[in-house]
Amino acid sequence: MSTPAISVPVVATTPRGPLRDFWGYFSANHGAVAGLVFVIAITFVAIFANFIAPYPPDLTNNTVFLKPPAWQAGGSWAYPLGTDAIGRDILSRLIFGARLSLLIGVAVVAMAIVVGIALGLMAGFLRGVFEIAIMRLMDIILTLPSLLLAIVIVAILGPGIMNAMIAVVVVVLPHYVRITRAAVITETSKDYVTAARASGATRLRLMFSEVLPNCAAPLIVQASLGVSTAILDAAALGFLGLGAQPPASEWGTMLADAREFVLRAWWVVTFPGLMILLTVLAFNLLGDGLRDALDPKLKK
């Protein structure tokens, strides 16, 4: 599924530390580095949106409806990427949108990791009926088309950014539960866990200080790829009118607003989608790079 990391000829005679080693593999993958740079840049933009954006995201100016971008006839550098149907600066909305989209992506993944690890650990350690119930439930979630399930959840809870996030968490949850459970089952059969158990470690201690750190790698990879899924799904919900509600400058919601102007103003449609694509792409590149660098099987 991914470009395997190009192996770097090792010239160093002293063994490298794990971090240096990781960076060696990671930086050999140009796509992954590009993804990382974009992610850092967009995070910077999101944090300092107030200072970078030329206008507040909701400021309307009724003298400049649907103004084209600066380089087109009729555009001006006052609004570099043009304005939307009610005279809001598109660049500023995109900048504030970065904040919203990243927040959604990170929050969804954080929630999914916490709940997923908890359920996965319990399924892996307790086994029995509890495990069967959890894993069956996860199978059902995986069986249903993800967006459909998210839509159903939002239909129950009502549209809005918070409910959309909950819906996406539920949809992506099975991956985290499965990864954790699988890792727990492999790890608990190893000698060091038996040793820890024999020396009287409690189950909680086994779960969190012995087993969990050892299944961190697949979870980190899944988390990085998960941010992109979360951003994409939340934007899709926003586009369907079920996610963030107008006038929020969430990219998907902006696209939904712009749909009716597709025939006359290409810029209101083009830029928000481009931002979604670039951000999702960056996180996918980053995730692929992390997987290649962290997966010992590919390193040989």
Binding site: T143, L147, A155, L240, L277, L281
Partner: protein, 337 residues
């Protein structure tokens, strides 16, 4: 084989029960009871409210209600749409062919482009073509398809005027549904230009819906092919002096396709997810658009029935894929049983 089939089938039942539970509780989790929901913002007279509760059996214990619901579902009764008053099952089957037609075209599009692209990328590993295919497929995989659809409309419908913006066929044609696949029905009808119109309406939605599966299939074909090309029997075949074409097409492809087939099967879920968005963008009258409309109109029986039916379709296809895989690959069969 029989044991494998039974093991696999026994997994279906709890999943089915789970889906019915989800569909059943869907309506009950909505704030307020279903009758109030149906009445909407106008509110409802308490007497009529009680009468309706009784009529729909909502005054009985939840477990009994669930039992009744399961009984009905097994008899093919999924309730009626609150807006049109037609049975949900009937509406579903009227619209489903449109979704299937679109999904089939999309998967064919993805296969026809994705498999050759993946093979060539693997054979010419690290060439410009390989990097190009991987770059494009990662972009396709990251693509917000609702935006992709709008972009294509912007370019091909608005700028170039090549393709229509929405619908399945030009309004001037009325085609009697025979197969439900409009392209085939248009051909059968013999009406001049109808087939052309149906096909031109299909092009953009097909591309939009096929993009993600295309990306996934190309990547999967490439990595499966790379794995197979490293095997000893390929080296043997080459050493025998067989042409590259023969080695790739006859020896490698057959084995490389096994994981690809699984991936194709798994695309059904992706396709339905994509169909919801694609149909919304292109006003394609299929089940995806139908369900989005149901949400907007708060038509819960449609939502409930639609979720269950789509879930069943995905489940059935997954089952078929697993069984096919078991037939192709005996190792899977053994480890699962």
């Amino acid at each position: 084989m029989l044991r494998f089939l039974f093991t696999r089938l026994s997994l279906v039942i709890p999943t089915f029960i789970g889906m019915t539970l989800l569909a059943f509780f869907l309506i009950r989790l909505v704030p307020g009871d279903p009758i109030e929901t149906m009445a909407g913002e106008r509110g409802i007279d308490p007497v009529r409210h009680a009468a309706l509760l009784k009529e729909y059996g909502l005054d009985r214990p939840v477990l009994v209600q669930y039992g009744i619901y399961i009984g009905r579902v097994l008899h093919g009764d999924l309730g009626k749409s609150m807006i049109t008053q037609t049975p949900v099952l009937h509406e579903f089957f009227a619209l489903f062919p449109a979704t299937i037609e679109l999904a089939l075209c999309a998967i064919i599009f993805a296969l026809v482009l994705g498999i050759p692209a993946g093979i060539i990328a693997a054979v010419r590993r690290n060439s410009i073509f390989d990097h190009g295919v991987m770059g494009v497929s990662l972009t396709g995989y990251s693509m917000p398809i609702f935006w992709w659809g709008l972009l294509l409309i912007l370019l091909f419908s608005v700028q170039l005027g090549w393709t229509p913006v929405s619908g399945r066929i030009d309004v001037k044609y009325f085609i009697e549904p025979v197969t439900g696949f409009l392209t085939i029905d248009a051909l059968l009808s013999g009406e001049k230009g109808a087939f052309r119109s149906a096909v031109s309406h299909l092009i953009l939605p097909t591309i939009v819906l096929g993009t993600q599966p295309l990306a996934i299939i190309a990547r999967m074909t490439r990595s499966a092919m790379l794995e197979v090309l490293g095997e000893d029997y390929i080296r043997t075949a080459r050493a025998k002096g067989l042409s590259t074409l023969r080695v790739v097409a006859l020896h490698a492809l057959r084995n490389a396709l096994i994981p690809v087939i699984t991936v194709i099967g798994l695309q059904v879920g992706v396709l339905f997810t994509g169909a919801i968005l694609t149909e919304t963008i292109f006003s394609w009258p299929g089940v995806g658009k139908w369900m989005i409309e149901a949400i907007n109109r708060r038509d819960y029986p449609v939502l409930q029935g639609g979720v269950l039916l789509l879930g069943l379709v995905v489940m059935t296809v997954n089952l078929l894929v697993d069984v096919t895989y078991g037939i192709i690959n005996p190792r899977i069969r053994k480890s699962a049983a």
